[in-house]
Amino acid sequence: MANVLVFAESRAGELRKVALEAVTAGRKLAELSGGGDVHVVLAGAAGIGAKAGALAAHGADKVLVLEDAGFTQYNPEALAATLAAQLKGGAYGFGLFSGTSHGRDLSPRVAAKLGVGLVPDLTGFTVEGGAVVGQHPINNAKVIATLVLEGTPTLLSVRPAAFAPLADARALVTEAMSSAVDPTASRVKVIELKQGNTDKIDLNDAPVIVAGGRGLKAAANFSLCEDLADAFGNAAVGATRAVTDDGWRPHSDQIGQTGRNVSPDLYIAAGISGAIQHLAGMRTSRTIVAINKDKDAPIFKIADYGIVGDALEVLPVLTAAVKAAKAS
């Protein structure tokens, strides 16, 4: 039986959905390893502690709240030192992070400080003895490797959206935590957070994604994808590398081998041919719909449902149909 330490990711004073996923995964890890406690580290500016409730609601036995102006922005050096110190104590068998930009920046630092290995971006895991046995996509997600790590502690990160948050209400227990080092002494300083459009759902959080490619012919036609996303209500708009390279959409919208990996319930690919670069980023989506003029386009080989037609014609009709379906 070993305790699990989870790092809960927040941004601009709010918990991110991946934090709840991480707590759920931590809970699973605790159960599989003999039923230890799940402690969650929540760091941020003054007031972040008020968000601890959601963590307890998903299985946190204790929330370690680190409130300090020095953590208003992401402070990797101070966080890494603090987490390493907390993990070193011996009270924890496992340290768990989200497989996000922050999580995958932070977890290797902690691992190197402790001199232990790290298994990253797991889509699933079990526990054998003290070891984590986890599935990790390799080779652009074309191969799944089963990795084994036994460390003291064992460190891992979990892929966003791989562990759906499960309600598991516990009494809220918080404990103040202080930084192991002076947060103002960090050499790496985040001086500005540039939020994307906060009205929009992030690609990793969206159950539905409408993605567009070159077949949309012009940047302005992405409004058709946005209309369809609005009709769904819980959708995000993504793009292929071709159109982000051309500047039609921001780089952070790129889904593919060198961009974002997404796994929504429904992925609608409009005007996308299905180059391998792109497929690598979305092939694990539950249901894939493709709309393309060319019936021989590779995207149709991976799609569950396909419409052969001009996306510019089909999208508005689909938007109207989705709106009607939602209304009824």
């Binding site: 930009s101 790290l118 539905v208 780089h251 379906a325 939602k326």
Partner: protein
């Protein structure tokens, strides 16, 4: 400006992989290899910084099998000045053992910057850069897609999900380079010829015992065949019906 770039030899990914009969790894027969995509952007970033500074040098370090000399030569054909191959046939998924070997090589190099690609497309570990930085006690900024170096300080913008953050850091530092910072140059023929004469040191290297091991590998579950529902806007009602009744996503 003295810059080191750590690169990796990876299989070219545009193939259907097969798993060996004993399920322990993927088949390597017939695979072609190249420099990891993200490492190409790191090399390009280093070359551009050297060109902008008007002086300096770019050194390539690679942990890999003997054949990885070809990848180091390609980096030198792009413009890197010298290369070191830490020769090891071991294909490991333990990022810390890799980081330790690289850190030992880089430690006394006096580099102003050590660049990595954000992630290797084969192992997809995305940890070597920050681990090396920790081992060398250097500041590290990951996922950089905008970069400005001004003397002894730097400013970078790093990728977040649906957002980004601007970061300041002192030199010397470690950076991991993401897609979007630049587009790598093609080696010119003169560059390829010149690379033959540039120094490439081969150092046999043994890695420490790994803490992360591979138990098995498998191909992801095949998606069941899909179907074309129809043509043009006329197919929409049927698609919506299927999404509601069959896929149950609407």
């Amino acid at each position: 400006m003295k810059i080191a770039v750590c690169i990796k030899r990876v299989p070219v990914m545009e193939v259907k992989f097969a798993i060996t009969a004993d399920g322990s790894r993927y088949e390597e027969t017939g695979l072609k290899y190249d420099i990891n995509d993200f490492d190409l952007w790191a090399i390009e970033a280093a070359l551009q910084l050297k060109e902008k500074a008007g002086a300096g040098s770019v050194h390539v370090v690679c942990l890999g099998p003997n054949a990885a000399q070809e990848q180091i030569r390609k980096a030198m054909a792009m413009g890197a000045d010298s290369g070191v191959l830490l020769e090891s046939d071991v294909r490991t998924y333990d990022g810390l053992t890799v980081a330790r070997a690289l850190a030992a090589e880089l430690k006394d190099g006096g580099y102003d910057l050590i660049l990595f690609g954000r992630v290797a497309v084969d192992s997809m570990n995305q940890m070597t850069g920050p681990m090396v930085a920790e081992l060398l006690d250097l500041p590290v900024v990951t996922n950089v897609f905008k970069l400005d170096i001004n003397g002894a300080t730097g400013r970078a913008e790093r990728v977040l999900e649906g957002a980004s953050e601007v970061v300041e850091f002192p030199l010397p530092a470690v950076l991991t380079i993401d897609d979007g910072l630049n587009k790598e140059r093609l080696p010119s023929l003169k560059g390829i010829m010149a690379a033959k004469k540039k120094p490439l040191d081969v150092k046999p290297t043994s890695l420490g015992a790994p803490q992360v091991t591979v138990r098995s590998m498998a191909l992801p579950a095949e998606r069941s065949a899909g179907r074309i529902v129809g043509e043009g806007a006329d197919a929409v009602p049927e698609l919506v019906r299927l999404l509601q009744t069959e896929a149950k996503v609407l």
